[in-house]
């Protein structure tokens, strides 16, 4: 079997990952960042809230640490509907231009992001939209728009490079805030920017070997009943993202949790031998030892398990399939690239089982209601 016969959009995207990051880094230059985040507004923001839907929400979860470590501003990543309907209005506009609300929507179309931005603006918060469509409906209602600048011609399918675009954009914003607030020096700023590219190049150089490993794993994992993802904090984004790709690519069963709660809940799932566990475990994170304890429990259950990590294979049980990524210069860079491991597996499983992405072949999904679910008829409500 040749894996080149089983390539779908995620594998194809992995091949242009480096060009994507290069394009985004070039597009979001010093000037673009300065226009989106004037100095006064940076100092005004006593808090930052990142919001979006699906992958965009995960982008916020994944990059929260860079805001904490570099920007040093209290930052929350919030689901769009939680922000637009459930967050207390007392948390918005309590001081001028506070919080700085960063909405993310690559297409700019879904109604909920526009609703978030309008609500934030209504209560006196600052609004910035990260998007690839600067003329989209959401962009019309944002105070500032940061154009990601993804290269054209990305194949239709579950998004990975668009996710990376949002992650890189968020990182660059955090670095600008850190530079302006002088939490990092110009040297550090330049080195951190360079580290994004260095890490990308390093991972992309290993992409072929990851593809080999993923293809081999996909052949044994394609008939599993479900996929269970475990990750903590920023790595929870990588875990959740993997689960989303399962659904988008081949519509399988997924579940997800953190390392602690997994021991209390998903440990009890019936027939563990039919459930593939995917653990994101990076050696520098404060819960690495907890993740190892959890993995010991997984080993006892004899579940098939893959580990995405920056540590050596020898750290984990011998039966686990370990994807070792290069260790980035700054720990907060890991989520930008580590999702590729399962993206590739998901893509190969999809093709090996002959499934059409996004259920485009199934009549149940080919309905007016289904097609309009994100935009059509969705009313905007400001509460």
């Amino acid at each position: 079997m040749d894996r080149r016969d089983y390539e779908n959009s995620l594998v194809k995207q992995s091949k242009v990952c480096q060009q994507t990051v290069e394009a985004v880094m070039n597009n979001i230059d010093y000037q673009a960042l300065g226009e989106v985040m004037p100095i006064k507004e940076i100092f005004d923001a006593q808090k930052i809230i990142i919001t979006g839907m699906g992958d965009s929400w995960l982008a916020g979860v994944a990059m929260k640490p860079v805001f904490e470590a570099v920007a040093k501003v209290e930052t929350d990543a919030m689901r769009a509907i939680e922000f637009s309907r459930h967050l207390s209005s007392k948390q918005l506009g309590f001081s001028p231009n506070t919080p700085m609300v960063i909405g993310i929507s690559v297409s700019g179309n879904p109604a909920r992001v526009a609703e978030c931005l309008q609500r934030a603006d209504h209560y006196g918060a600052n609004t910035i939209l990260i998007t690839d469509q600067p003329n989209s409906p959401s962009a019309q209602v944002a105070r500032h728009v940061l154009h990601v600048g993804l290269p054209e011609g990305t194949p239709y399918g579950p998004g990975a490079n668009s996710y990376i675009g949002s992650l890189v954009a968020l990182t660059l914003m955090a670095l600008r805030i850190g530079r302006v607030k002088n939490t990092i020096s110009q040297n550090q700023y330049e080195d951190m920017k360079k580290a994004i590219m260095d890490y990308t190049v390093e991972v992309c150089a290993k992409m072929e070997s990851f593809a080999d490993q993923a293809f081999e794993l996909a052949q044994t994992w394609k008939d599993l009943k479900a996929y269970d993802f475990i990750g903590d904090y920023a790595d929870y984004a990588t875990a959740f993202f993997g689960s989303a790709k399962v659904l988008e690519a081949f519509g399988g069963y997924t579940t997800y949790d953190d390392s602690e709660d997994w021991c209390h809940i998903n440990f009890f799932l019936k027939h563990p031998e039919t459930i593939g566990r995917v653990v994101i475990a990076n050696s520098d994170t404060p819960s690495f030892n907890r993740l190892k304890e959890t993995m010991a429990a997984i080993e006892k259950l004899e579940s098939p398990c893959m580990v995405v990590t920056d540590a050596d294979k020898s750290e984990f049980p011998a039966s686990f399939n370990v994807f070792t990524f290069p260790k980035p210069r700054y720990f907060w860079l890991a989520p930008i690239m580590q999702h590729w491991a399962f993206d590739l597996v998901a893509d190969y499983i999809c093709e090996l089982n002959g499934i059409t992405q996004f259920r485009r072949d199934m009549p149940a999904f080919d309905t007016e209601i289904g097609k309009k679910r994100l935009r059509g008829g969705t009313e905007i409500v400001i509460v």
């Binding site: 010093y30 100092f43 020096s185 110009q186 040297n187």
Partner: protein
């Protein structure tokens, strides 16, 4: 005769660095006995100043006074960062280069003045260039 040399230095935040020794060393290397020595800082947020070489407190006062004159305000038009914008102004006001007269193989200010690379931003990797002309 012309001789020049570039040296590197790692600065801290709003620090100053005595480069008098480096200048003397380069002057000696050049072999020039009578002429001019120029030191230039090829950066826009770091400069050079000459002041008393002996008294630490004087230099600290100088740094404080410069900060007071040009604070890192947040409403500069230049949007890079407040320290960067203030740094450009300090640099413009206090200059990037100093010329010293060389006589009998020595700077005439020898023993009186000290030369200091002033960091207005930092920490950063900086360079300074010393050129000696004469015979």
């Amino acid at each position: 005769m012309f001789y020049s040399e570039t040296r590197s230095i790692q600065t801290g935040k709003n620090t100053y660095h005595d480069i008098t020794g480096d200048m003397k060393e380069i002057l000696e290397k050049s072999g020039v006995k009578n002429g001019l020595l120029v030191v230039e800082i090829p950066h826009s947020t770091a400069g050079v100043m000459a002041t008393t070489g002996h008294v630490e407190a004087v230099r600290q006062d100088l740094v404080n006074e410069v900060k007071r004159l040009v604070p890192s305000r947040i409403n500069f038009l230049h949007e890079e960062s407040p320290d960067d914008a203030a740094g450009h102004i300090k640099c413009g006001l206090f200059g990037n280069s100093i010329t010293s007269i060389v006589k009998d193989g020595k700077m005439v200010s020898d023993g009186k003045l000290g030369y200091f690379l002033m960091e207005y931003d930092g920490p950063r990797a900086r360079k300074f260039v010393v050129a000696v002309m004469g015979e």
